[in-house]
Amino acid sequence: MESFVEVFYKKNYGDRKIIRIKNRLASVGLKNIKEIIPSTIYKISGDYSAAQIKKIAQNLLTDPVLETNQIGLSKPKDFYKVEVWIRDSSTDVVGESVKYAVAALGESLPLGVRVGNSFAIKGSFTKPQLEAAVKKTFVNEVVNKFTIEGF
């Protein structure tokens, strides 16, 4: 069974990350960006109850001062959502560390954990334009796979 936990910055705490994403996309020609909501997605494979996933999300994956989380994946309205993952054939180093941290938290060892970088983005551009910009900045298809959803 797979569970998803999405971790977001609280308001006003993720500004630097937002600026960085914006600048990188702008550097390859994607202008007119109105809003960006960055997040980190954890895909946890294993037999866990909703309460256990909530505990893992709260006690391990989220910094309570800076961050907030939701169980399952967000789908913000009027946004494109970009998800960038390390290909399954490559080792996900952060995922590996999280896997053993879950066990250290007292839960059973997950079958696997993969970590994805994600951002929701709104602006005056088309999906192909966004896709082209993402490919030139956040994705190296040698090691990454990615999806763009929305609209």
């Binding site: 550097s27 390390i86 290909r87 054939s89 490559s90 080792t91 996900d92 180093v93 590996e96 560390s97 030139k136 900045t137 190296n140 040698v142 090691v143």
Partner: protein, 796 residues
């Protein structure tokens, strides 16, 4: 493929070549035929694991064939046959000839090892590696695993050294590169950012300071960046040598084995094409390596193993094969700890999964070893034992998948005579006569040039303070942002002795631009620059040790081979002239790709000389920033008409003029005198003249110290009659600016007597760099403005 291997001994030469091409073994026809001959002799076909083992062991990466094979060299009309190969006739020959007693282990282990400190208690191990091909394909992962690999080299030298400093030297195309790229290529800006992020994330997490480096920019690095990563470690002298004993256990520790990193060694021995294998790219796991590092240090201190090596290119096949090359080894891959279950036995054997080391453990020590590994949360597996059979025997459960004789595996690679050609380009005298007002402008442009400007944006990303021993830091001066010549490290974290102030300096010399005109002088200039940089921080250059890293295009190209021969000869002469043995080195070939028009684009032929020398009291190390108004400024060394390939020449479009020619004998004599003056406490500041020449060096010293300087070129020691522009911007080698107190003028004159030197001016209170010739003012620039120019260029 199994069917083709069954027919292996009867395949034609062309079928053998087709087979190796399909399998990605990067072996040539002669090598395939040699393998076929061996299997014919033993009367059977090879298994896939055996051919993979041969391909890894005979790869350019592991066997350094270009440096070991004979070369037929034609330099103009002069012909020469280098029978012994370049390695034995140049870098190794110089080390052998110099025969320095303080060299403890050279060219036979994972790193070079020299004495360190007093009482012969400690040794220093130094290794610099390249990770070019992986960084071209996946810059972040490539750089990470480059750092991880070279750190493991230090953990795997002798019985293991504690890493105390990392170095990073990069060659990139400019971040604003605008030429068309082929479809599969990443833009240089992405490569630059990815590489820097990778070095940062891996090095910082390991708790090793990254404190010495350089960056060189040239359009021709667009498709193939060069990423040199180095590590210095400290070890007790009793741990310098290793020995494998038959009966000892083969213990693999650290990371698990997966399908990542397959064919890394053969990948780095081939030209990168669009379809470069995904599995050749790996992602590093710094936390796993830290566990290995911590466990290794405890195991070493208790002397629980008798030999160790890291799993680098070729993975188990290379590491276990090398350790067992003088006795024999028998292992069972079923015992390996795996990342995934679907992996084939031959894949386990050649996988280059990261963060793995192989220990040679006496059976009686196994329990104690296990206890420490468990305490450090470091996974391990006992794979087998070393034998007396002189054979490499590998099983997967009951199936024997490799059964090869050591004589064939390690001595069976055929020698091929390589062809090298060089035609020296015609160079001419330069002309640089600008109106006086224009020199200030040119100075600003030189300082802002990508190959001269501030690297602070990169350096600040690295933790260069961790371990608390970085005495002279990469950024120097009153605001800690000036360009240091070298770093000085006090390895107290390894020795644990806070009353012992012995340290060492680490520096580099790199200038592929000079190599475009004169590869021989490129090597000599790099040797000279590395020594000069060590001297400028107060290191004892009488005990300099060099490392070489050659990065070239295809060795099948005779012109590139010609440049390689001349560079290696330059290294030989440089080592002898400076009395500095090469203690370790590495080569990387096939750094070339097809550009957007389908034409081969090799990297500029590049030699990196890394150097280290002792600093006997780190408290007396010297930096490059001006210290006090009123002090005298001296220049040591001769300025010549050598604007060729200089920063100013590139800005002004001056082409085909004389490049710097090194007079190493005079240089070393002067350096020794300067070192003597430093020992007497006469020198307050020292800075070498490199990019931007005299004007560039003066500006850097002034704005780093927050002080001005008044210079007069009247008495500048020159060869022949030079224009003001040539005096200011020529990049002649072997020149250093020194700052000293006026009260020591007589002592300075006495100390430097016999070398070419002159007082050229004074440090001033004002914030201006003023350069005059007689009464004529040539440059009058605000130092803050100069600093702004130097800091304004985006390097990433």
């Amino acid at each position: 493929m199994e069917r083709k291997l069954k027919d292996f001994t009867s395949l034609s030469a062309s079928a053998l070549c087709a087979l190796q091409g399909n399998c990605g073994w990067s072996l040539c026809e002669a090598e395939m035929l040699a393998a076929q001959k061996y299997f014919k002799t033993i009367g059977r076909a090879p298994t896939q694991a055996e051919m993979e083992t041969v391909a890894q062991t005979w790869s350019e990466h592991c066997k350094h064939k270009t440096f070991n094979d004979p070369i037929s060299f034609q330099n103009g009309n002069k012909k020469e046959l280098i029978k012994e190969g370049l390695f034995k006739s140049t870098v190794y020959k110089a080390t052998k000839k110099l025969n320095k007693k303080w060299c403890l282990s050279v060219f036979k282990d994972n790193a070079g090892v020299i004495e360190f400190g007093k009482d012969k208690k400690w040794a220093l191990a130094f290794k610099a590696e390249t990770h070019n091909h992986p960084c071209a394909v996946e810059p972040y992962g490539g750089a990470e695993t480059g750092v991880g690999g070279v750190v493991r080299d230090i953990l795997g030298v002798g019985l293991g050294a504690k890493p105390v400093v990392n170095t990073d030297i990069f060659c990139f195309a400019p971040p604003n590169y605008s030429k068309k790229l082929p479809p599969a290529a990443l833009h240089p800006k992405r490569i630059i950012n990815g590489v820097i992020d990778g070095v940062r994330d891996y090095g910082n997490r390991l708790g090793i300071p990254t404190a010495a480096g350089a960056v060189w920019y040239d359009d021709d690095f667009a498709l193939n960046p060069l990423v040199f990563v180095g590590t210095i470690g400290i070890m007790p002298t009793w741990a310098v040598h290793k020995k494998v004993y038959p009966g000892d256990l083969v213990v693999a520790i650290g990371g698990r084995t997966g399908r990542d990193g397959l064919h890394g060694a053969t990948f780095s021995s081939a030209v990168i094409e669009d379809a470069s294998e995904v599995s050749a790219v790996q992602i590093g796991h710094a936390i796993n390596e830290k566990k290995v590092l911590d466990a290794m240090m405890k195991l070493q201190a208790k002397k629980l193993y008798r030999a160790v090596t890291d799993c680098g290119a070729g993975g188990f096949s290379s590491a276990i094969g090398e350790l067992g090359s003088e006795c024999g080894v028998n292992i069972d891959l079923k015992k390996a700890i795996l990342k995934e279950s679907k992996i084939q036995p031959w894949e386990i054997w050649v996988s280059e999964s990261q963060e793995r080391m192989i220990l040679c453990v006496p059976p009686k020590n196994l329990k104690a070893v296990e206890k420490i590994l468990k305490a450090e949360d470091c996974e391990y597996a006992v794979l087998g034992k070393f034998t007396k059979t002189n054979k490499l025997e590998v099983y997967f459960g009951k199936d024997k998948i490799v059964d090869l004789d050591n004589y064939f595996l390690h001595g069976g690679v055929p020698k091929i005579v390589r062809r090298a050609i060089w035609q020296t380009p015609k160079l001419k005298a330069s002309k640089l006569n600008l109106p006086a007002k224009k020199y200030g402008e040119l100075l600003q442009k030189c300082l802002a040039n990508l190959n001269a400007c501030s690297r602070e944006a990169i350096i600040r990303q690295y933790d260069h303070e961790v371990q608390g021993g970085t005495v002279v830091k990469p950024l120097q001066g009153i605001k800690h942002d000036g360009p240091g010549d070298a770093s000085v490290i006090w390895p107290v974290s390894a020795t644990g002795n806070q009353k012992d102030f012995n340290g060492f300096a680490v520096s580099h010399g790199i200038n592929p631009e000079i190599g475009k005109s004169d590869p021989y002088q490129m090597a000599l200039n790099c040797c000279d620059e590395a020594v000069r940089n060590l001297l400028c921080v107060g290191a004892d250059i009488n005990k300099t040790a060099f490392l070489d890293n050659f990065c070239w295009g295809s060795p099948e190209n005779p012109k590139l081979m010609g440049a390689l021969v001349l560079t290696a000869k330059g290294c030989y002469d440089g080592a002898l002239a400076y009395g500095a043995p090469f203690i370790s080195g590495k080569d990387s070939f096939y750094n070339q790709s097809k550009d957007a028009a389908g034409k081969d684009l090799p990297v500029p032929s590049t030699i990196l000389i890394s150097a280290t020398a002792p600093v006997y009291d780190v408290r007396r190390a010297i930096t490059m920033d001006l210290k006090e108004a009123g002090n005298d400024l001296y220049i040591v060394g001769l300025t010549k008409d050598e604007l060729g390939r200089s920063t100013a020449a590139q800005i002004l479009g001056i082409k085909d003029t004389f490049v710097p020619v090194v007079d190493a004998k005079s240089a070393l004599a002067a350096y020794k005198k300067i070192y003597g003056a430093m020992q007497k406490g006469l020198i307050k500041t020292a800075h070498d003249l490199s990019q931007g020449g005299l004007a560039g060096a003066l500006a850097e010293m002034a704005f780093s110290g927050g002080l001005g300087a008044e210079i007069n070129l009247n008495a500048l020691p020159c060869k022949g009659k030079l224009s003001d522009g040539q005096k200011l911007f020529s990049e002649s080698a072997s020149r250093i600016i020194l700052e000293a107190s006026p009260k020591d003028a007589a002592a300075i004159s006495k100390a430097l007597k016999g070398s070419v030197f002159v007082k050229i001016g004074k440090v001033s209170e004002g914030k201006k760099l003023v350069v005059k010739y007689g009464k004529k003012e040539i440059i009058a620039q605000d130092i803050n403005k100069l600093k702004k120019s130097w800091q304004s260029t985006a390097v990433m």
